[in-house]
Amino acid sequence: MQFDWMKIPYALLTLFIVINFGYLLNSFIAKIAARVGRRRGIPIWQTYIDVAKNYGLRTSITHGVMFYLGPVFRLSGGVGLLLFVPSIYGSSMFSNLSFAGDLILALYFVFFGTLGMALGAAESGHPYSAIGITRGLSQVTAAELPFALAIFSVALQYQTLSVTDIVAAQQGGILHWTLFTNPLAVVAAMLSFLGSMMRPPFDVVLAPQEIPIGPPTEYHSSYLALMQTNRAIFPIAKIVIYMNLFFGGATDWPTFFLKVFLIYMWSVFVGVSFPRFRVDQSIRWFLIWAVPIGVLSIVLV
């Protein structure tokens, strides 16, 4: 076992950086949305306070083992996804635990969190959470397809599945990014990115007023705290994959934060300006628009 133990503290360091960046990013984007509405919006550290309050609550209830494990699956899905993909290119310190698996591991590890959340919410016995899961799973299958096609075409283009090699191939100037060498794949991937970010065009899963926030309806206090932490980590972990594959990866933390923020803003902009799709509409939308672009990208790569 030539496994060097130094990777663990480095991974925890990345985790710590990303968690804080996640909380700040969420509150910062909430503040932008408020400012757009000419409101002062929440203070930047509000997310920290909410998490602390949720940890601080004295009582909690549990519907059963699977309910208890739901948030654990969810958060370990988010943390795992973050750690299986190298964050900073070139630095062995921040290549996290990506020795364990390549791009395919990241692509399929997304389901780990979804599966856990679905099982936990189903155990709560609440019909609305079951409806929320049905919508979420149906939508994610259609959303994952263009992303899988994009990944396949990128893998074909660079003839490798290892993330570090793909990032290496994109170094040297902005024109080397996959955005320019394989634009169709990037378009398909960014369309599918909207599907997985739970933002308005595709947020029928949480649908705040329709089915009270969908799957996590029955979750509270410390469970909710874990989920909020995941709400901070998971989008960033997913964006790191997009960044590494399509936008040239990050050689140091400032470019990392900038790129993550800009990619995140793409889903915010689209979210703010479009109404909510029903699930079958979103499935049809993905299959009619995103998938043909993905297929084209495979054929033309």
């Binding site: 000419r38 409101r39 002062r40 929440i42 509000q46 309050k53 609550l57 004295r58 009582t59 926030i213």
Partner: protein
């Protein structure tokens, strides 16, 4: 007693007959306990500060008070600045705002929602109707004093207080919480029988378990 709550004999798939009592089988019948604050004072103060700074509201939008809460979300009053947020489910909310008169029927729903919230939880009554029945003071079916049925932390007087009054109410509540006096949940648990007796005196068709977890 409604028929879906009556005891009934049910035959299982293997032919064994057994009795199902919905109230006992479908609902957890544990009593609420008094939750002691954290051991060390510093931790409790920090948690109180966090609870004060992040008040998640469950609005029981009854009567005319609900309309007063909407401006709090607008740029003019913007309650989000104070860490206040509206949550759709009682599970995830700490502050229960009852914004108007309550009839016996709606009281039943208020009690059920209140009991589903996690402690520590606070109740804010808006308007004079929650203080003394307001203009329905002599009506046969409205609740005159909210305090008899639920431990209320803050009343905001006014026959519908304006948003500014609500913001002042929030400030008042934050002060109470920071001083550690926001122990309504424990009070409810301690005097549970008294509260339950008052409630049952008013609500005659009590077809729920005593404490709705």
């Amino acid at each position: 007693m409604k028929d879906e709550l009556k005891k009934r004999l049910v035959k299982g798939p293997d032919g064994v007959e057994f009795e199902v009592d919905p109230l006992r089988d479908y609902y957890c019948d544990a009593r609420p306990q008094v939750e002691p604050p954290a051991i060390s004072k510093i931790v409790e103060d920090f948690f109180n500060w966090a609870r004060a700074e992040s008040l998640w509201i469950l609005g029981f939008a009854t009567g005319c008070g609900a309309i007063e809460m909407r401006p709090l979300m607008t740029p003019r009053f913007d309650a989000y600045r104070f860490g206040v947020q509206w949550r759709p489910t009682p599970r995830q909310s700490n502050l229960f705002i009852i914004s108007g008169y309550l009839s016996t029927k709606t009281l039943k729903r208020v009690i059920r929602s209140y009991e589903q919230m996690q402690s520590p939880k606070y109740v804010m009554g808006l308007g004079s109707c929650t203080i003394n029945g307001g203009m329905y003071w002599d009506s046969y079916n409205t609740i005159k004093r909210l305090d008899d049925y639920l431990p209320v932390d803050v009343y905001v007087a006014g026959c519908m207080p304006r948003p500014e009054a609500l913001l002042a109410g929030f400030e008042e509540l934050k002060r109470i919480i920071r001083e550690g006096k926001g122990e309504g949940a424990n009070k409810y648990a301690a005097e549970f029988d008294r509260y339950k007796a008052n409630q049952k005196k008013v609500i005659h068709d009590w077809d729920m378990p005593d404490y709705n977890w």
